[in-house]
Amino acid sequence: MGLDLNWALQWLALSARAMADHREELIELDRPIGDSDHGENMDRGFKAVTAKLAETPPETPGAALKLTAMTLRSKVGGAAGPLYGTAFLRAATALGDHAEIDAATLVAALQAARDGIVARGKAGPGDKTMVDAWTPAVDAATAAAAASDGDVRKVLDAAAEAAEAGAVSTDPMEARKGRASYLGERSIGHRDPGAVSTALILRAAVGAAA
């Protein structure tokens, strides 16, 4: 069984809750190597997403993600706003107007999201950005889809787990993109806040499918 509109709405609701719950944590992560606003930005953005979804209920998962993209783009600002905005927009395009999402489409959407982020932000793996959560997530999702019998839950779970490990993997990296890059070597030993918010969002996707 694929993922439907309910899943998408549940995913976005759980993402919003995760951003609210982890607001301080994301601010704290952004403090030493950024400007202490990532948690505030994401929380503000997903609160707006929640309001927007209630205001104009979408009819497909793709429409839900598109509305999310437009809202994040217009409410978040900073680096995260346009990057997540692009990610959700590309994912929405990959979903098209399907009512149900199968494993292959899911993988394609995750890949499109990651590619969108890379196209906009020009960061590669190892630059200590959210790309270091997205890239292993896409790889793990691809492998899970191939290995499994098309169980979207397993794909989501693999993606979330890989994103979490990816976020942890940013600790020893020296940042080359984003604000943390200004710190050079001093960025080493800190976790990238955007990678953590990515992991939280992908984990929410698992929860929504439970």
């Binding site: 403090r31 400007d35 783009r73 409410k75 600002g77 680096a79 706003g81 932000g121 984003g178 001093r186």
Partner: protein, 333 residues
């Protein structure tokens, strides 16, 4: 955290509202989406100039909206770049048909959001150019990194490009002079204390009583390295040296020397820094032809300063001297 604020999340709303009330003769403030435009915008036949960025750097950018400088400013949340939904209407509001130049400080967020807005504006038929400001020598530049930040030089780019637009230069010419200023300007800053973002509630970094942070930006982010406290002359030399050598200043050059306060440093101290910098430049045979001293691009209540040097040519000097009438910078008008 003690601040003269109400709700930490309403800081920008209320501050910009107060700004609009205080300067209603010069600007019009829109609340949602939030942007500030010159009262008489769009000025017929004139290229529009729009800048913006996170709030907390006041008077940048709203304070520079007016005759001879910006046509619009777009304030984001504190230290967070604004969104395309704000930048686009600001851009449309100041387009007289002659096109619009975005002046963008080089931060990932600012670049991406202005980029999106410019695409949307272009789609609506506005001819667009953008000038990227990246004058901070504290940041090592390279093809593989986010590159240098835009800091103090931004004020000078806005003033000089603004004067070019005001005298009727074409879209390409305004963007070109903006780029030229950016290529001729370098900055470096120091923090004695950190600042506290209202919604974050705690300082961005902590400095001990005898430590200072060299190479800071304007977003309360830590700098390149931390050193024991030094006297003003020593600190000045540390800031000036990389600026001068990166610019390749030589005897006979004319410069504008800009000593900027980060928001919490008394003016008297800025003049002590200015004194040393002017003396050091004079010793190298460099002529300080123009100067600016004060809080012009700040980082909330941070104590510290930055030194910006712009190598002047005759045209830049004339455009610097041209009339300007904004809330924060005014002469000849």
């Amino acid at each position: 955290m003690k601040k003269l604020i109400n709700d930490p999340r309403a800081v920008v709303d209320e501050s910009v509202e107060g700004f609009g009330l205080a300067h209603a003769d010069l600007v019009t403030v829109f609340a949602d989406p939030k942007y500030i435009v010159r009262r008489d915008a769009p000025v017929a036949g004139k290229v529009g100039l729009v800048s913006g960025g996170g709030s907390g750097h006041e008077p940048l950018h709203g304070g520079y909206v007016g005759k001879g400088m910006l046509d619009a400013a777009v304030p984001g949340a504190v230290f967070t770049s604004p969104t395309p939904d704000q930048i686009l209407p600001a851009t449309l509001a100041v387009n007289s048909g002659a096109g619009v130049v975005h002046i963008v400080k080089n931060y990932t967020g600012d670049v991406l959001n202005f980029e999106t807005a410019a695409e949307l504006a272009q789609a609506e038929g506005v001819e667009m150019r953008s000038v990227l400001v990246n004058d901070d020598v504290a940041v090592q530049d390279s093809l593989y990194t986010a590159g240098r930040r835009g800091v103090g030089g931004t004020v000078l780019v806005e003033k000089i490009a603004g004067a070019a637009a005001e005298r009727g230069d074409s879209l390409d010419a305004v963007a070109a002079i903006g780029d030229r200023v950016n290529q001729s300007v370098r900055s470096m800053g120091v923090a004695l204390t950190a600042c506290t973002v209202p919604h974050a509630g705690a300082p961005s970094f902590v400095l001990e009583e005898n430590e200072i942070e060299i190479g800071i930006g304007i977003h309360g982010e830590p700098g390149r390295h931390r050193i024991p406290m030094e006297n003003a002359d020593g600190i000045t030399d540390r800031l000036l040296e990389p600026v001068v050598s990166d610019l390749g200043l030589a005897a006979g050059d004319n410069v504008l020397l800009f000593v900027n306060g980060m928001g919490g440093t008394p003016q008297s101290e800025l003049y002590i820094i200015y004194r040393r910098a002017a003396q050091q430049l004079a010793e190298r045979g460099v002529t300080v032809a123009r100067s600016l001293v004060g809080n012009y691009i700040t980082s909330l209540e941070m104590q510290g300063c930055s030194i910006t040097v712009l190598r002047l040519d005759d045209e830049m000097t004339a455009l610097w001297d041209a009339p300007v009438h904004t809330p924060a910078l005014r002469w000849g008008a």
